[in-house]
Symmetry: C2
Subunit: 777 residues, 2 copies
Amino acid sequence: MHTRHTIADNIQQRVNDMSWVIKSKATNIDRLLLEESLFFTGNGYLGVRGNLEESSPSDMPSIRGTYINGFYDDVPISYGEKLHGFPDTQQKQLNMIDAQSIDIIVGVGDQQETLSLWNGTVLDYERSLHMDKGFTERRIHWKSSYGHELRVTFKRLASQAYQSLFLQHIELESLSGPIPVTVQSRVNGHVENHIDQSDPRVGHGHAKRVHIKDVTLTDDYKSVVKVKTYASNLTATARSHINVDAVDHQTTYHVDEHHVTTTIAFTLDGQSTIEKRTYFSDSRQTALSKKEQHALDQLPASYFFRKQAEDMANFWSHADIQIGGDTKLQEGIRFNLYHLFQSAGRDGQSNIAAKGLSGEGYEGHYFWDTEIYMLPFFTMTQPDIAKQLLLYRYSILDAARNRAREMGHSKGALFPWRTISGSECSSFFPAGSAQYHISADIAYSFVQYYLATNDTDFMVRYGGEVLVETARLWLDTGHFASDGSFRIDAVTGPDEYTCIVNNNYYTNAMAKFNLTWAVKAINLMKRKAPEHWHKLQAEQDVTTAEVDDFLLAAENMYLPVDDTLKINPQDDTFLNKGVWDIAETPKEQFPLLLHYHPLTLYRYQVCKQADTVLAHFLLEDEQSEDVMKHSYLYYEQVTTFDSSLSFCVFSMMAARLGDLDKAYNYFIDTVRMDLDNTHGNTKDGLHMANMGGTWLAIVAGFAGMRIKESGLHFRPQLPTQWNGYAFPLHYQGRQLHIELNGTDFVVTMAEGEPVNMSVWDTTYKLSPGQPVQVCLT
Amino acid sequence: MHTRHTIADNIQQRVNDMSWVIKSKATNIDRLLLEESLFFTGNGYLGVRGNLEESSPSDMPSIRGTYINGFYDDVPISYGEKLHGFPDTQQKQLNMIDAQSIDIIVGVGDQQETLSLWNGTVLDYERSLHMDKGFTERRIHWKSSYGHELRVTFKRLASQAYQSLFLQHIELESLSGPIPVTVQSRVNGHVENHIDQSDPRVGHGHAKRVHIKDVTLTDDYKSVVKVKTYASNLTATARSHINVDAVDHQTTYHVDEHHVTTTIAFTLDGQSTIEKRTYFSDSRQTALSKKEQHALDQLPASYFFRKQAEDMANFWSHADIQIGGDTKLQEGIRFNLYHLFQSAGRDGQSNIAAKGLSGEGYEGHYFWDTEIYMLPFFTMTQPDIAKQLLLYRYSILDAARNRAREMGHSKGALFPWRTISGSECSSFFPAGSAQYHISADIAYSFVQYYLATNDTDFMVRYGGEVLVETARLWLDTGHFASDGSFRIDAVTGPDEYTCIVNNNYYTNAMAKFNLTWAVKAINLMKRKAPEHWHKLQAEQDVTTAEVDDFLLAAENMYLPVDDTLKINPQDDTFLNKGVWDIAETPKEQFPLLLHYHPLTLYRYQVCKQADTVLAHFLLEDEQSEDVMKHSYLYYEQVTTFDSSLSFCVFSMMAARLGDLDKAYNYFIDTVRMDLDNTHGNTKDGLHMANMGGTWLAIVAGFAGMRIKESGLHFRPQLPTQWNGYAFPLHYQGRQLHIELNGTDFVVTMAEGEPVNMSVWDTTYKLSPGQPVQVCLT
């Protein structure tokens, strides 16, 4: 026990040196645009970009946005040539109602000036993201052109406990005696989405998709704005109130067709606070009732900040990763986990958009990013949220069945490549609908969740049905060739620079897993919950012959190895193509997708991201160490890393194959990708999958964690750059603490049933109060 | 000589039994819609659909259209996800100005009625297409509800000699004494294009693309309407005049913002004629000057009908194919050749749209259809038109160079898959831009034209440059593999049910031809016109190493044979896929493209059309008879013939391989495809490529004609269903006449230098007045 404590203390000491707060003093417009994403405020339901409360110049680039997770409109898709099965419409996550605006006007008459970064003199400015407490803050020390000097602190939070609530709290302090102040606060329903014609990763049409249903000042002086979508018939409502604690203030209200504006005039003498509470709700969700809102209104702002801090403390106690030896990395990791938590839907009706709730890139769509890159973090640290994310997939299973029919499959479910409400939103099918692997990815995640939680009830109620329906898709998509092998043609794997291929290794391997586990799930259901099995069998007409074919297809799945290169070919013809000269390609030509026609890319051995290598991470027991190693080295050479989904995979597999330097270097690329805007498009939102990848790169990479049918596995290693690392883990109802310090790997469990686990292929029994300590030298 | 005359007489006798006139008595609305295409009137510049002069019920389905070849607007293309190199705009052939309308109102006061198929009593009705004379005609014997009985004959022609002129000529005969008649004629600039949201083969957006610039009645009572396109800034003008030869007629004019209406009242006593002349011109073309128009106005209508008959006689003397033994087929063949002639642009600025000038299907775009299916007819019968069609391709060579750059090629020219003015109009690249073979198809046609005409001047001025620039494309697209073979990846062959593949046999074989002939053309230029070669070399920076590589790539082109099946695989992985069960697919599911997502089709061995088999037709010396035969039988089984481009190819190759019954049956499918509307979409326009295919199926199919570097070849055969066939042929400045009667194959030449030719691989010398006669038994 002594040793363990030393490790913990050791790490703790360094952790104390590290900041839980991200700070920025930047006031240039490009950085401010970027920080709208970096400093966004969310709680899985609400997301509010880090826009400024105060007015800014009209030509300042800004994406002003407030989002509700899964609040969308259906918009038509136009095609030059529309073929059968191309979706007619797609969903688009909407910018909804803007309640952020609060202008502070200082002085009177011709000495009046609005506080902003562009007026008067900014004596000091700092923005902070308090990841430990769950709020953001901006401090301005400002002097007007007419000599009024004051300090203003803007704080804002999206409440974790009360998901409707967006709270803004402003502290003012006069530094030049009594100052006449006029506060002007707005709630604005006249909003649009951001569009960019030039970037395929951003929406480029249908900016305006809500119209205003109601703009009212209620009898109790609440500003209410209600909007309705053009086509999906969803409504969203903001109910807002602003208050100043100054004595003798005068409040006036103005309602026009778009806004409710509240104007409060008072004299700032010493300190005052302004507080604005906005409750958002929408027609899909049971929002806080007015009564509940009223009850909350009785509570002081401090209550919500305290509650938020408690909720965040609880989150971190299950999630925080501690790194010994690098403050910048520590900051980056926490930043990533924080935003994952802010973005994950937890109502079973929503999920995690590619950009979370931080921006409008990829139009708020949910991709495979969730299952393969983000879900492991939730499964292993917040299984309740993981469960809700999987329930969302279950909720769109019927839509996936419909999509399979549209795509010509008589049975089974094909999950959409990108969606909000369940139907396919991909209008470019070669790098969209053709990515059939998403169905296997979702199946894989149900299995991972089951293995990590042992939640049999969930598996028999939901997982089994998903596994069976996706397995059927593979049976219908593939075919048994004359040599008996089962082959899957005309799909696209994860690598979007190589589309519509035959026998993509990743897809085939994942389909094999899917088919195998469909049978296992059926057997589990038969054993544990035959009533669920009989119901599924009857409703979906599942035959014994079909189940036999699942196994036959899985056992005969075509997974070739190239004898010369000793690698898994990415697909049937990948290795026959010419090799793209990445080294000779000018830097400004990356990402290639923005500079080359897809056909040009398809013509070469060039990968946007990990594909076969990712399959090796997810299914390491399918291939020998040798094949995985050769594959890694081969594909690394032909991968551009244009996709943010790539670094973490290469990091994990480098660690898996023993190259810690590479693992470390790729990890570095994941951990501060958004903080340092290394992909140049963080303004459109954070790269959520990469954020999940950071967690994976440590837990599944350096610590080598795998969840398999055989249990919990570790292959811990320590990059030379670090002294150690530590993280909590949830495993089958147990709370574990994992630490590595130098050569000592220690796993502790506070309570729960003993459980076996393996460290570097040696099995250990872990019991409460009896840490397993393994010396790695 | 005796024998030959017997054959000719023999055939002539049957020909005399056959009609040069297509007749129809149909008045049902579906058939009338169809006949708008079948009875269209064109001259290569103008195309006027066979709409009715008289008003029809407003709910009657009709596509009312008047087109100028290559008169287009640029319209934006929308994409759900737009990637690099996707075209921003496409061209769209426009419906322009409608001058067809002429109402004949019979009676006065409350006994007035407009002559139409839906009013009064139609006592007799017949429509005729006079293919020998070059005009269409509609005869109506009609009695009004108030007892006025008359015969009216509408005739119309688009003048071959005066391409601006559209002439309508109406003969009226009273059968019930003097009849008060009011003629109302309109020229209408308020027109739109037809759209159909549900059919990808028809335009589905941007119906209205012209606005009216001018509507005037001139001092000399000409109705002038001028329209301008929205974006391309082209203008088109119609200058029209209507006249009645009756005495005491009263004419009034009405001009509004959209129309000029001319109203003529007179008493029909006995016979009268009405004549409407409309001159169309557009801003791209030197139209007839007003002076020229005025001179033509002095000529009677009969002059134009006579001149048209002369021009058509001249056409037929070089083009007519005579079949002994089947009137329906004879009718079909002439119908097809007639419409080819009506549709082919002959100004070097325009080409032949997929639907010719008969309708709006495929938006008036020019495809590879011209080169591979239609050009052979013109090359071998009307080389002057063929030359103009090739000059059009030369005119867009710079656009093809630009397209190659957009597609990432540093050198060379990539011709657009579909275009009017030269830029790529395909918005679905897997079955569009990816069809790189069109560049080789164009190159192939320049070579065919050269071999057929011996027009060295054209080759050195234009052909050489096209061949070099397209050869460069192949060098840049393909690569030398480690085994030294030259491979071309990520292209789509002719078969649009199998997209984006590696080493499509057709593409590789055609590219080989292209590369080989680039070198031959260079050598020809060096020898015959070094100044052209030096100019090309200097302007395009053609290096010796590059030319060496053309040969190296050609010699090492990868053209595999599957050892087991003894066929050329369509591409690298085609044969590994599952085979689509065509027999088990319900009839109503064809064409498959309207009922299955492209991915589903890509997943199977299923072809929309001839692909490898077409390569074997075009390049028969690349493979052994055995491989061609096995390939034919194999691909025939997996081809749906959903494309109208398929039948003629299978017919020709069946003939080539000795299966005359199959050849005949496929021929039958080509010859009356539009007349019998077997594809169900002739309303949108005629299938021009198939029409060219009819000619090919006889000349290159049954007569087995090939033009090679080694000269003119025949492998004549006679289907058992026929007694014989005969056709004229142009070869290197000589006019040949080819006949097959029973077992005697006879080739005659009236004048010119003697020339060698081969019949069934035996060489014969053909001299003027000395027919070659070969007994085929």
